[in-house]
């Protein structure tokens, strides 16, 4: 007689705002088997390329996911620009970098909050989200939208940030950084947090690489892969070094994200300081004809937009591979052997973005 408990986990679940479902098989509270299942957010938006003009599709692209919205749009636009051989003005590249990094800040803070909630640390959740609001305020002031910015377009960006606003942002960065470091300190040093995270959901360097993991999940295991190193947007000018941790556990993944907060703040600061003058967009003429695998670094890892045009206004195919999809195999490997209490923590530790995953 087996002493096993079969528990459905999700799709409706209080701590994960998005539906994912796992069939957990527990012994006492030890996870012995787990079968994931997704598909609750699959909308089929890849097919919309056949209905929307390639310039309009940016709006769809940024709604692939409301958290990494800007970077999806960026990745899509870069892909089209590559196919059409459009050179984006410098200022637009810098602005894109700033918004990308703001996205990363907002996403990481959001994730830190959810992660804290996953551990049952409510106050930390509140604090993370409180900090995140200041990033959203910047978004609202510079783009007009809080979570969906709608500011990237093929050939550049739709809005400029005035010098005044840039200066203000630069001024407030220091105090923002200090608050972030306070917050990060709790995640990295608090004993109860460490107790919950260290040694949990370990995935070795080789495994992470072999399973095709992406982003902080990969970097937390000691593999330095960060697409910003390829120098898209303004990263090439600003210089960038990936954040890497080696332990491969939930704590390492958390540490990667915390330290990425600091590096993002640094990038924004330098981007504001080195902001070039000039126009923010170029006129787009013609239609895309060709194919390209456009890649960019999302908060969750490497995103791939495969775009293929045939010279008409409509693309033939857009295929979007998002980091969470790549991290699911790693997740399946991480869960067995954990405690039930750790399941939400481990699931969150890959920073799942289901609406990205399923498009």
């Amino acid at each position: 007689m087996s002493k096993r408990i079969v528990v459905p986990f999700g799709p409706q679940h209080p701590v994960l705002p998005e539906p994912i479902h796992l069939d957990l098989v527990l012994e006492d509270e030890l996870v012995v088997d787990v079968v994931p299942s997704i598909g609750y957010i699959h909308r089929g938006l890849e097919q919309l390329v056949q209905k929307r003009e390639f310039t309009e599709y940016v709006y769809v692209a940024e709604r692939i996911c409301g958290i990494c919205s800007f970077i999806h749009a960026l990745c899509y636009c870069q892909g089209i620009e590559h196919i059409m051989k459009i050179d984006v003005p410098d200022r637009a590249r810098y602005l894109r970098t700033i918004w990308s990094e703001c996205s990363r800040l907002h996403s990481h803070l959001l994730w830190l909050g959810l992660f804290a909630d996953g551990m049952g640390f409510e106050n930390l959740f509140m604090r993370s989200w409180q900090l995140r609001e200041s990033v959203l305020d910047v978004f609202e002031d510079t783009t007009g939208g809080r979570v969906i910015q709608g500011t990237c377009k093929v050939g550049g960006v739709r809005r400029d940030i005035g010098q005044e606003k840039l200066d203000e942002m630069h001024r407030t960065l220091d105090s923002f950084e200090e608050q972030c470091r306070d917050l990060g300190g709790v995640f990295l040093n608090d004993e109860t947090v460490k107790y919950r995270l260290q040694g949990l959901g370990v995935i070795s360097k080789d495994d992470a690489y072999a399973l095709g993991a992406a982003g902080p999940t990969l970097r937390g295991s000691g593999v330095a892969v960060d697409h910003r190193e390829t120098g898209y947007a303004a990263y090439g000018d600003l210089g960038f070094k990936p954040v890497v941790e080696t332990a491969g556990d939930c704590y390492a993944r958390c540490a990667v994200r915390v330290r990425e907060l600091y590096s993002s703040i640094d990038l924004i600061r330098r981007a504001i300081e080195e902001m070039p003058e000039g126009s923010i967009d170029v006129k787009v003429k013609g239609t895309p004809d060709g194919e390209y695998f456009s890649r960019a670094e999302q908060p969750r890892g490497e995103v791939v937009h495969y775009l293929r045009g045939d010279g008409t206004k409509h693309l033939v195919r857009a295929r979007i591979r998002t980091p969470t999809l790549a991290n699911i195999p790693a997740l399946v490997k991480m869960l067995p052997g954990a405690q039930l209490a750790d399941v939400p923590v481990i699931v969150l530790s890959i920073d799942p973005c289901i609406s990205c995953t399923e498009r």
Partner: protein, 634 residues
Amino acid sequence: MQTLLFLILFPILVACLLLFVKRTTLRYAVVALSALAIGGASAYLLIRYASGGAVYFAASSEAADLAMVAIEMALALFIIYMGAKFRNYLAIALAVVQAALIVYLETSFTGSLHAANNLFIDQFSIIMALIIGIIGSLIAVYAVRYMETYHHHHPEVRDRQTMFFFVIFAFLAAMFGLVFSNNLMWVFFFWEVTTIASFLLIGYSETEEATTNAFRALVMNLLGGVAFVTALIFLAATGPASGGIDLARVLASGDAAVVLIPAVLIGFAGITKAALMPFSSWLLGAMVAPTPVSALLHSSTMVKAGVYILVRFAPVFAGTFAGFSVGLVGAVTFVVASAIAISRSDAKSVLAYSTIANLGLIAACAGVGTYMLVWAAILLIVFHAVAKSLLFLGTGAIEHRIGSRNIEEMEGLIVRMPKMAVMMFIGIAGMFLAPFGMLVSKWAAIEAFVQAPFGLVFIAILAYGSAVTVFFWAKWMGKLVTVTRNAERVEKGFLEEPWAPLYITTGLVVAAVFLFPVISSTLIEPYVLAIYGVTAHLAQTNVAIMLLMMALLLVLPVSFFLLGRTAKHLPVYMGGRPATPDLHFAGSLGMTREATTQNYYLTEYFGEARLFRPGAAVCIVLILASWILAGVAL
């Protein structure tokens, strides 16, 4: 005295009669009638002797003594024969040693082998007699139908029911003899009979496992037997100073140091018989026997003999370090066995560990031996016997209906066998919940230990132990009351056990709560008073509160009928997934899965593998310590 003799001899008569009864219905009639007679006689004892103090009877002994020695020798030969047959040389060796010691005793100390009074009765004996007479014979009645079904389910087992019932009644006779004897030689004789009887009953099914376990029980009990004989030799040798083999004199002996050594040795015999650690394995092994045997061993006979003798010697243990040591064996057994019970899913195994734990608690009380603790110990014996017999009988009945005695399989019993579930519920409540008996006794023990010297050690152990107890009982209870859907009602099996014994024991569990103030004041308190000169009792207010709680428990179910009517029924929440009422939900990979809910067993922390060895090691050290301390005291 006639009643005493009747109670000892009548069961033997019935036993012999049953050797010739082959038909179940006839056997049922015989067993039921004799049960009635035995129960009636025990009740008569209560009426006749409860009000007075201890009464001694100088039963003539010459012939009886001789017969006893002869039977003892015969039993030794039987053990040697069985040992040779199954190649268990340890048993042979122990039997030989024991026989040699008896012969030595009989030949060397002929002068001091006479007790002034061979039989006696006091309130403690009455309590034991009631337990044996009522619960023991109820189990016997239950066993008749049970065994019929048992053979129906297990065609591979040879039908030896005549032998079975012979042994059962012989067992009862021996138990009566044991609690009525004032002559320690007699006590030892009956002691040996229970050993052999349990050996035969455990080995009933004749499977390899049964035989092995039977021999394990035999060997461990023989160890105790050897210690017992040694104590007798010591007593006989120390003659008048210790009081010889006269129980009453021994207990009243002024030379506490001299008596302590035999007390510790007999206490060791009690520890083996009561299956305290490290000897707990025989009682667990005894689970292979048919369930009525387990019920008998656990509730009214055998192990109770062990704690009976310990409680008898409690005044000797009181205030000595040796006694403290013996008490600690019990306390450690209590906490370790309770903890191991968490990791078990086999109902009988849980019951066994719980028995071991409770016997440990009784032993702890007896070892420390203050008047309050003796009071608590006797209360524990009573309540444990009642509740545990119900649980065993219930488990047996359930096993026959659902084909398993695994707690997990009892899920939803409230739907499948409502009457049975309620009875089990009451039985389990009786084991650990206020205001039921065991809890009251535990509470009394805590209050008593606080006042005992170095009682803090026991309190600490008790605090952990009772916390652990709540866990495993409550989760079993939870399994019973789970309301499962689409479960079939199997209350009426193809061969019905008589429900009467179950109803009666259930009634006893509930009645014990209402009656325990009376039990305490008429039986336990006078006994304690007689021995210690002071006695303990529960405060009136607390008794009143507990009766109020019990009344509430009886009234609350009424709300069941008042509340439920207007409610809308919905299936359980399954994370939003479509689910059927019987807990099937749409799982991953397109499969429909069933959400199963199993209990927690925390094997990693409370497993037998992890806890048994350390526990046993501590207990062995403590037992050795008790010997050394007793020796030092001399």
